[in-house]
């Protein structure tokens, strides 16, 4: 190969095309072909000997726990004190919030927002809290807040050290990764009742369930932040004689701060995602009100506390991570700048004064005159939507028609096909895709996950009296795939729009926040009404929840494309469209793939919500562990694990797509 250049040869090797490359393909093709033939030749169904007895094992453990929950030392001297401590934390936070009264809490939010992110965050944080007061859901909102604050603090105390550890040890990262995936995707309904046995009712199990859900982003983003500290900064630290410990404190953590803050934001969002489920265990919070509205089929009554949850999330988000949104416009009012110490004093002083005034004036509840009941309006709006979108919409025919098409022409054929495929063939094909995406290791890992689903055993029910979890997994897979395709098809164009227009991004932001945090229970009824009970409604519920991260990350990816190559393209006469297609989108590829990857995990995390509107499959089996724990905890755990395995397979393969084509190092 002639590399004669004046400036010396590059030591990088060129990609190999041509004969040598072709030969390398023969082995894998032959291997997968052979495997496929074997897969078709052997039993098309999962053989019964593969059942490792997980269901019985889980149920036996569960029953042991039930029998010994009041006597064994593990409860009396470990879990009960732990539970008491958590309860004490929640009630202490409540006590503080109650002592501050609502004016003090408003001032507190504004003060924190001001200190962390400036006046805009202070205003938006304060306004969001004021809106909660106006909606007349202040008391339950404070309960929710106390649970959140406790759970988020615990999640950080666990997550940040684990993140530090995983950032320094690849081995630790590999080991933890499986646990984190499980924690994020395993439906909470599977472990909610067991957690109740360990931690009692009301706040402690709610906190624990939330922590389980919220730890993964804390670990991941801490690790990511620390790992992306430039080497030169570490060298600087070392050259000045930092100990490993000083290095962490003085160099790495400060430099990773923004990523860790993003982690905090994700932790909060994740925590809110589970708040309604946690209130099934007896917390008198916003989630409980949502459930009560749902129980009466009163969308408006469920919407108001749901909106309260959204506002609380928005308030916490704005005041905790305001740093990321530096204002572009000059401030309307210029405040005198004060140093940090004075600022803190002013802020705290405001809070104290507000609380003191509230106490002196004996302000307890929000005056009725200030509150608004919007549930009626919401019900009218929902009624209109239900009356007008279900049928008789021009061209598309309405949501009923969409549902019928989805179920009859897409979901059912796809499900039948996947179930019909010999199970090992599915394993081989997925392994083949994994091999093409990354290599042997991934192929082995993915086949292992799918084979593990084969070991989960069967459950009663179905046409033959027993249904193997493999078949249910294929049912779930068919729904998940369809939901993913729809989500991506909606999210990509919106993400591109948000990435190119500040205005679009501003308009979309509250909707995305709402879609991500609004408890799905709130919109289950309209979705049910529009799409009818069944898989169509399930897909829609998943899509609503799953598109925000994809929109966000696509937009972010486009915005982060360095300007130089874009400018170069423009200077060569690229139209706006050409610049998007030829430069921005390819350069944002990783970020977009990450968005799609997040969407996939979100869809899988909502499998159980889909089951609540009639999507059945793994989600329903997992849910039954909550409704009939003694009989069904085993199969519920098996279904939950199957969901986790599916998630890992889809996650790893799409992640490989995001990294493999080119190492997109920037020039």
């Amino acid at each position: 190969m002639a590399l004669a250049t004046a400036s010396g040869p590059s030591n990088a090797t060129a990609p190999t095309f041509g004969v040598a490359g072709t030969r390398r393909w023969i082995l894998p093709v032959a291997a997968f072909g052979l495997l496929a033939i074997v897969a078709i030749a052997v039993n098309p169904n999962v053989p019964s000997w593969m059942d490792i007895g997980l269901q019985k094992w889980v149920r036996d453990r569960y029953m042991w726990t039930v029998q010994n929950s009041n006597t064994s030392w593990i409860f009396t001297s470990v879990f009960n004190p732990l539970s008491d401590a958590i309860n004490w934390m929640v009630e202490s936070v409540q006590w503080i919030l109650r002592t501050l009264r609502w004016p003090g809490v408003l001032a507190l939010f504004a003060a924190i927002g001001w200190m962390t992110a400036g006046i805009r965050a202070a205003v938006s944080g304060g306004l969001a809290m004021a809106a909660i007061a106006v909606l007349d859901v202040w008391e339950p909102a404070m309960v929710t807040l106390s649970i959140m604050v406790t759970a988020v603090s615990i999640a950080l105390v666990i997550g940040i050290p684990l993140g530090i550890w995983t950032s320094r040890s690849d081995r630790a990262e590999r080991v933890l990764r499986g646990f984190l995936d499980t924690a994020q995707v395993m439906p909470a309904f599977v472990y909610l009742i067991p957690v109740t046995i360990f931690f009692g009712i009301k706040y402690p199990p709610a906190v624990i369930a939330t922590v389980i859900y919220a730890v993964p982003p804390a670990v991941r983003l801490t690790s990511l932040g620390l790992r992306s500290v430039p080497t030169v900064m570490n060298e600087v630290g070392e050259s000045f004689g930092c100990t490993s410990w000083q290095q962490l404190l003085k160099v790495q953590l400060p430099m990773a701060r923004s990523t860790i803050l993003l982690g905090l934001n994700q932790v909060i969002m994740m925590a809110f995602g589970i708040v309604v489920i946690a209130s099934l265990l007896g917390a008198d919070d916003l989630g409980n009100l949502v459930l009560k509205g749902l129980q009466k089929n009163d969308v408006g009554a469920a919407f108001v506390p749901g909106l309260g949850i959204v506002l609380l999330a928005v308030a916490l988000d704005r005041i905790s991570t305001g740093e990321r949104s530096t204002p572009t416009r000059p401030p309307l009012i210029k405040l005198p700048t004060v140093d940090r110490r004075t600022g803190t004093l002013i802020a705290l002083g405001t809070v104290v004064v507000a609380a003191a005034i509230a106490k002196l004036a004996d302000v307890t509840a929000i005056p009725d005159a200030l509150t608004v009941d919007i549930s009626g309006t919401i019900n009218d709006a929902v009624g209109w939507v239900q009356d007008n979108l279900r049928k008789g919409v021009p061209v598309i025919g309405g949501t009923q028609a969409i549902n019928d098409f989805l179920v009859t022409d897409v979901l059912e054929p796809l499900r039948k096909f996947l179930v019909w495929l010999p199970w090992l063939l599915v394993v081989v094909v997925v392994a083949g895709i994994a091999y093409l995406s990354k290599g042997w290791r991934l192929a082995v890992g993915c086949s292992a996950c799918l084979l593990l689903i084969g070991t989960m055993g069967d459950i009663p029910g179905g046409a033959d009296g027993r249904t193997h979890l493999w078949d249910l997994s294929m049912d779930t897979l068919s729904q998940v795939l369809v939901a993913i395709v729809i989500s991506v098809a909606i999210a990509l164009p919106l993400g591109v729009w948000a990435g190119r227009s500040d205005r679009a991004q501003q308009v979309m932001r509250p909707f995305l926040d709402t879609a991500q945090v609004m408890p799905q229970f709130v919109y289950l009824i309209p979705v049910l009404f529009l799409f009818g009970v069944g898989r169509g409604a399930g897909v829609v519920a998943s899509v609503i929840y799953a598109i925000p991260p994809c929109i966000r990350l696509t937009g972010l990816g486009l915005r982060e494309v360095p300007y130089t190559p874009r400018e170069a393209a423009i200077s060569f006469g690229a139209t706006e469209r050409q610049e998007l297609v030829k430069v921005q989108l390819p350069l944002a590829f990783r970020s977009i793939m990450l968005g799609i990857n997040q969407t996939i995990l979100m869809v899988l995390a909502t499998v159980i919500i889909a089951a609540l509107v009639g999507a059945g499959a793994l989600g329903l089996v997992a849910y039954e562990g909550f409704t009939k724990p003694i009989q069904k905890i085993g199969q519920s755990a098996a279904a939950g694990l199957s969901i986790v395995f599916l998630a890992i397979v889809l996650d790893r393969i799409t992640q490989a797509w995001g990294t493999s084509p080119d190492q997109q190092r920037r020039s």
Binding site: S7, G8, S571, G573, P586, S667
Partner: protein, 352 residues
């Protein structure tokens, strides 16, 4: 034709390839009101405090002749990058006109503008601006692709252009596999591939090692002599400006302080700012003999020498002969003479 303010620093060329008149760039809310107003003369801080606007470039006039290398030199923040971007409206100028090859770019519609960018002007960027997801061939072929050339044709052309810049056979590499110098060669090849009339260079070599930088400068000199492209070259490096430029514009605070040939700038700095800049430049490196020659005498002469030869390059000649040398212009006509004393006086005054 001549602008009223009479500032003709750059406008001294007949039938220019690039013609810029009264070009302004002001950032901020309602920027156009600043143009030409008394406020524009306020110091930067005061202007920003009073109006929220920042003047990046003010009242630039400039003509570049066909085949000329015009260098704009200034420190960072002087407005030189803004100027080069306004030429093809990568940055929209606030006021003024730009004509390129007779087309008024500032009034062009979208299609005309694309046409100028695709066919007439190419640009080489400081940070290369290569597309990391494309191979070198596809990077070089980018402009052709936008022109609508078919794949085989543009690849062939791109491959031969790569060869021209010394990257033969590396077409399937990705940018990140290359060194910085090699990457900028690709950037250069990309600009050349569309065979434009005009090349714009925005500090193209400032990120490169000195040796590589010199090599690349040689490349530009070669382009000037071999293909006679019109070039506008932005740099903050005075020696680079002196080496490459037919004419140099010194820019400061958004305006041209001086425009002239390297010798003019070095010998007659317009103000203290420029004087400070050129203080350390050895005169003999930039002064051509025809700038310091004596009137033609009776002879005899020790030989003939071209008028544009730099003084330092005649040191050897005058050292070997007692006789003065005869200076001839490009047409071969004798125009003056230079002797040992003349050369020595230039060199002796260098450190003043």
């Amino acid at each position: 034709m001549l602008p009223a303010h009479g500032d003709l620093w750059g406008a001294s060329v007949t039938d220019p390839m690039i013609e810029v008149r009264g070009l302004w760039k002001v950032y901020g809310h309602r920027a156009e009101r600043i143009v030409g107003s008394p406020e524009a003369d306020l110091p930067r801080n005061e202007l920003e405090a009073r109006t929220g606007c920042v003047v990046a470039m003010r009242e630039v006039d400039l003509d570049v002749a066909q085949g000329e290398v015009f260098v704009v030199m200034g420190l960072s923040g002087s407005g030189k990058s803004t100027l080069v971007r306004c030429l093809t409206r990568l940055i929209e100028p606030t006021a003024g006109t730009v004509r390129i090859g007779g087309v008024d770019v500032t009034k062009a519609d979208d299609q005309q503008l694309l046409d100028v960018r695709r066919h007439k002007v190419s640009m080489v960027f400081q940070h290369f601006g290569l597309l990391p997801h494309r191979s070198l061939v596809d990077n070089v072929a980018f402009g052709l692709e936008l022109q609508g050339a078919d794949k085989a044709q543009r690849r062939e052309l791109a491959a031969s252009t790569l060869e021209l810049v010394g990257l033969r056979g590396m077409g399937s590499y990705k940018p990140h596999q290359l060194s910085g110098g090699q990457q900028q060669r690709v950037g250069l090849a990309r600009a050349l591939a569309t065979n434009p009339d005009i090349l714009l260079f925005d500090e193209p070599f400032s990120a490169l090692d000195p040796l590589i930088r010199r090599e690349m400068q040689d490349e530009v000199i070669r382009l000037r002599t071999e293909v006679r492209k019109t070039m506008v070259f932005i740099t903050h490096d005075l020696s680079e400006a002196l080496r490459l430029g037919d004419r140099i514009a010194i820019m400061r605070d958004g305006r041209f302080v001086q425009v002239g040939t390297p010798a003019e700038v070095v010998l007659n700095p317009a103000d203290d700012y420029v004087r400070n800049f050129v203080r350390d430049v050895p005169r003999s490196h930039v002064v051509p003999v025809d700038a310091i020659m004596d009137p033609l005498g009776d002879g005899p002469y020790g030989g003939d020498i071209a008028g544009d030869t730099k003084v330092r390059d005649v040191v050897g000649r005058v050292a070997t002969t007692e006789l003065p040398l005869r200076v001839i212009d490009p047409s071969g006509t004798p125009v003056g003479s230079i002797d040992r004393m003349g050369v020595l006086s230039v060199i002796a005054n260098e450190d003043l």
